[in-house]
């Protein structure tokens, strides 16, 4: 049965990674009896293997909880989980669209971090009530007064009503739930109006087809109803609606103000696009809901199947992933070195890593990825402006009037003692300081930095030089003309398109040398010598050689035990299978990321 609107609360939790969001969600589920003890595996909401392993939330999850308040009222609390990483701020905005309020969860020892700041602003902009919660107050290093000050000074929300909890021990969690009910407004909506339901998330299930997570804004969505997708105009019969408790629990209907799932026998992967409005075929709404901003990928890389016959499987897998990953963009790319694959657009490096890992794990694909690159803008000599997502497609120099690279505004929040190394890092990355503010114990800085510099190893280094305390958020700002050149890598005198990259001329010499040296390390010695060169146009700027191996023979092999010797050969062969044949040279997959690692390897000191 649907709850009265006044007894529904839709909320998200905004938190930095490791600040205890999943643990808090688990306590909520436990307190509301969503799962029995046997079913409570740690961190229920992080359902993807990858999320469990990395301890981060990638996709929005949701859970609907019945809460019996002390005043005797029964509430339906709908928690829409949000990802905490900067690469996934888009996912956060989607989750927020389904809520009236958000808990801002801050670690009592670590204090406020940049992504939480950015996400809090998004929530406030979206008109949500933001309730501050200080977690991990049981830690010896907890300093709630300091964190309160930070929340007030950095984010600017009042902390008089701040909840103090330990999600781990459960301390204060029940009080928090009462606070939540009191502070977060009930949803509004007209249950007898024509149906308007917003698709927050969709994913493909091999048994039932597309499953969509929706927020019903107006009207009622009944099981069995004939629905219409606003964007495609296609109609489907609803097979099942329900809520997650967190187990899927079918219901008769979902009413305005509620969040739940819809299964409507949609077999085509893009049948229920995220951000679309669902309405009734018989009684359609007048206009769609605002939906979501189309997000632009900022980082591009080529993904190629290691075995060319997996191309079609890769296409299908990307298609399925892109269903609930609006930021993932892909189109066919053909490379002389790697054959057919896809040029994929990502929000950032973590997004790219996660997509690649999901493709490999969930779809059993063996992939080769090229080094990620940012999008460049060029003006050709005949005055045309073009975006370049692939260094290989940069026109020859005589056709280019200007190359522009993307700049971002980076917001960094760091405890005062690390300010020196952080500034050094930013300057080393061609960053220019725009603003600096001392807030409580932390320093908030804003830098103008070329995005290409940040994409590669900025985040890791920022983390390591601040012992994990610095946090970082960024936004694309603009394209800026620069002295940028295309750096080609030649293997045995042949250009390998998948290894080309666009770099600043000042660093081209160094990058070229680093890359050929790195390739020299990762390309195994083989039957013949392999010549490696880095070139700008026809000008060779660096070279290295992979010496030929002398032999590859088993010294001993008697008729006796053939199986073990055979296994050795099979192992060698399997190793080769993971390599790409380029002319007579075998190139291992990691070589195509040599561009990335080179900068990591040499500067990490």
């Amino acid at each position: 049965m649907s709850a009265d609107l006044r007894h529904i609360r839709n909320f998200a939790i905004i938190a930095h990674i490791d600040h205890g969001k999943s643990t808090l969600a688990d306590r909520f589920i436990e307190l509301c009896g969503g799962l029995d003890a046997r079913e409570m595996s740690n961190q229920v909401l992080d359902s993807m293997d990858l999320e469990k392993e990395r301890g981060i939330t990638i996709k929005a999850q949701t859970v609907s909880l019945p809460f019996q308040a002390d005043d005797g009222q029964r509430y339906q609390l709908n928690l829409i989980d949000t990802p905490g990483h900067v690469d996934f701020s888009y996912e956060v905005s989607r989750s927020l669209a389904a809520c009236e309020g958000a808990l801002l969860l801050v670690d009592a020892a670590q204090g406020v971090e940049a992504q939480s700041v950015a996400n809090s602003y998004s929530a406030i902009e979206a008109g949500l009530e933001v309730v501050p919660v200080i977690n991990k107050i049981d830690l010896p290093s907890a300093d709630p007064p300091k964190v309160r000050r930070e929340i007030e000074e950095i984010i600017g929300i009042d902390t008089q009503d701040c909840a103090l909890v330990s999600a781990k021990t459960g301390l204060g969690v029940r009080d928090l739930m009462h606070l939540l009910v009191r502070r977060i407004p009930a949803p509004s909506g007209n249950r007898s109006a024509p149906l308007q339901a917003l698709i927050i998330d969709s994913w493909f299930d091999n048994y039932v087809g597309v499953v969509s997570l929706v927020r019903v804004v107006n009207g009622t969505l009944n099981s069995g109803a004939k629905i219409r997708m606003w964007s495609t105009g296609r109609t489907y019969a609803v097979g099942e609606v329900g809520t997650f408790t967190p187990k899927a629990k079918p219901r008769e209907s979902l009413c305005a103000g509620e969040v739940g799932y819809v299964i409507a026998g949609i077999k085509e992967v893009h049948g229920a696009p995220v951000g679309d409005t669902i309405t009734l075929d018989a009684q359609p709404c007048a206009a769609p809901l605002p939906g979501f901003l189309q997000i632009k990928p900022r980082v591009f890389a080529g993904l190629f199947p290691a075995q060319s016959d997996d191309f079609e499987a890769l296409r299908v897998a990307l298609d399925k992933l892109s269903l609930n990953d609006a930021a993932l963009r892909f189109e066919v790319e053909s490379s002389a070195a790697l054959g057919f694959g896809f040029r994929c657009g990502f929000l950032g490096l973590l997004h790219m890593e996660i997509v690649q890992e999901r493709l490999e794990r969930e779809y059993g694909l063996n992939l080769i990825s090229t080094a990620p690159t940012v999008v460049f803008e060029i003006v050709t000599t005949d005055g045309e402006t073009r975006l370049i997502e692939n260094p290989a497609s940069l026109p020859p120099p005589n056709e280019i009037a200007e190359v522009r690279e993307p700049y971002i505004t980076a917001s960094i929040l760091v405890p005062q003692e690390y300010i020196g190394p952080v500034m050094q890092l930013c300057v080393g990355k061609r960053g220019v300081q725009k603003r600096i503010e001392y807030l409580a114990n932390q320093v908030s800085m804003e830098y103008d930095i070329p995005m290409a510099e940040v994409v590669f190893d900025f985040f890791d280094r920022l983390k390591s030089l601040s012992r994990g305390y610095a946090s970082f958020d960024y936004q694309f700002s603009r394209f800026v003309p620069g002295d940028l050149v295309k750096l080609d890598i030649l293997i045995n005198k042949e250009r390998v398109d998948a290894l080309s990259l666009i770099v600043h001329r000042d660093s081209s010499q160094r990058r070229g040398r680093e890359i050929v040296e790195r390739l020299q390390d990762v390309i195994p010695r083989q039957m013949f010598e392999v010549a490696l060169q880095a070139a700008i146009g026809s000008h060779i700027i660096a070279r290295a050689t992979v010496k030929a191996v002398r032999k590859n023979v088993l010294a001993k092999c008697y008729g006796g035990d053939v199986t073990r010797k055979r296994k050795l050969l099979e192992k060698q062969k399997a190793g080769k299978k993971r390599m790409k044949q380029f002319g007579s040279v075998e190139i291992p997959q990691e070589a195509f990321l040599a561009v990335l690692n080179s900068s990591r390897g040499t500067k990490e000191s």
Binding site: R550, N552, A555, Y558
Partner: protein, 381 residues
């Protein structure tokens, strides 16, 4: 499944699994001897095992017998006599049968060698490994360089055909010290050299605690130097690690490489037999105690029919180790398959310059011989 028109030649491998001490590089089925050597019981077990194998011989005479180990020379001449008499009582031997026994140089006596010769052993294979004291120590050998020399001298008194096992690319070895080893081996009067590049095998002490070995280029320099020296002394390399004076090739090992059949008796012994059901591979249980208990019923640990695809691969894995390769017709004679079963790998290998096919012979090129693993891997099913 394939059928051959004529059964291949048959050899017999006998495994005597005990050693005084396990060497750190050794991955063979050898066991340190604790207490009395049960040679009486073991020979009885071997003969019982052989009884069970007789049907597979299909009345073929044995072309060669190889008594390997372990350290077979731990067995007395009397035990070896009883073993070989027992074999002769069960199977015919070709008139010029080659019977090899492996010996280690520690504590050998002229008397014992004479006894082996009298038992019918006509080829002795001595596990010298090196003549350099420092290397012998590094290899965990229990004999000294003097003992090594003395063992070969004694062997030569009883045997016309003597093989020495030598290893090169040893920890800290220079080309000069490797050549000195070769010179000592040549001077000893050996007629055959099994000349191994030391390889770190899994499940060995060296694998767990790897010694520092000469790297790729240094190893290559050593190999070039020693190969040149052995060749100059009139030895011919006929297999990856086997060198012989003319006519002194090891017939037993050649039978392996030419994909002949062999019975295998003893703990952990392997057999390969052509049967009506196809080519069958067998292995015996590895633990000596277990073998002693179960030999009468065969002590088979594994028995499998080699698939058609695997047959072609296994043939190549063996035959391409021979520097002279093999006559084309040998492939179908041994496998029962047309040569086309080796395609497309054959063509690929020729195209890559790893293999040559001329006058009805198929052999690895110089490049193919150096990259034999890459060549053979092409034939993996």
């Amino acid at each position: 499944m394939s059928t051959v028109s004529q059964l291949p030649p048959l050899a017999l491998y006998v495994h005597l699994p005990w050693c005084l001490r396990k060497c750190p590089y050794c991955d063979f089925n050898s066991h340190e001897l604790r207490g009395e050597l049960p040679e009486e019981a073991y020979v009885t077990a071997l003969l019982a095992d052989l009884d069970g194998s007789l049907p597979a011989a299909c009345s073929r005479p044995l072309a060669a017998i190889f008594i390997g180990g372990g350290t077979p020379s731990l067995f007395s001449a009397a035990a070896v006599t009883r073993l070989l008499d027992g074999v002769r009582a069960r199977l015919a031997l070709v008139h010029d049968v080659e019977i090899t026994l492996e010996a280690n140089p520690g504590a050998v006596e002229a008397e014992r060698f004479r006894g082996y010769r009298a038992a019918g052993v006509n080829r002795l294979s001595i596990g010298v490994q090196s003549f350099a004291p420092r290397q012998l120590q590094a290899l965990g050998r229990i004999h000294s360089s003097d003992e090594a020399r003395r063992a070969v001298t004694l062997a030569r008194q009883s045997f016309d055909r003597v093989n020495l096992d030598l290893m090169y690319c040893l920890p800290g070895q220079s080309p000069d010290s490797a050549v000195a080893d070769v010179d000592a081996a040549l001077a000893s009067g050996a007629t055959h050299l099994s000349f191994y590049h030391l390889t770190i095998e899994p499940n060995t002490v060296f694998h767990a605690r790897p010694p520092v070995l000469p790297d790729g280029d240094a190893a290559h320099a050593i190999e070039e130097a020693v190969h040149a020296r052995v060749a100059a002394a009139g030895f011919r390399r006929y297999e990856v690690s086997a060198w012989a004076r003319a006519g002194e090739e090891c017939r037993h090992n050649l039978n392996y490489w030419r994909f002949g059949d062999y019975l295998g008796i003893g703990a952990g012994a392997h057999a390969k037999l052509t049967t009506a059901a196809g080519i069958v591979r067998e292995s015996r249980t590895r633990a000596p105690a277990d073998y002693l208990r179960r030999a009468a019923e065969g002590a088979i640990a594994e028995r499998r029919v080699v698939s058609t695809a695997d047959t072609a691969f296994e043939f190549m894995m063996n035959a391409l180790r021979l520097t002279g390769g093999f006559p084309e017709k040998l492939f179908s004679e041994r496998t029962g398959l047309p040569l086309s079963a080796g395609e497309p790998a054959l063509s690929t290998a020729i195209e890559k310059g790893l293999l040559e096919r001329r006058h009805g012979e198929i052999r690895p090129t110089a490049l193919g011989a150096r990259f034999l693993n890459d060549l053979v891997a092409l034939f993996l099913p």
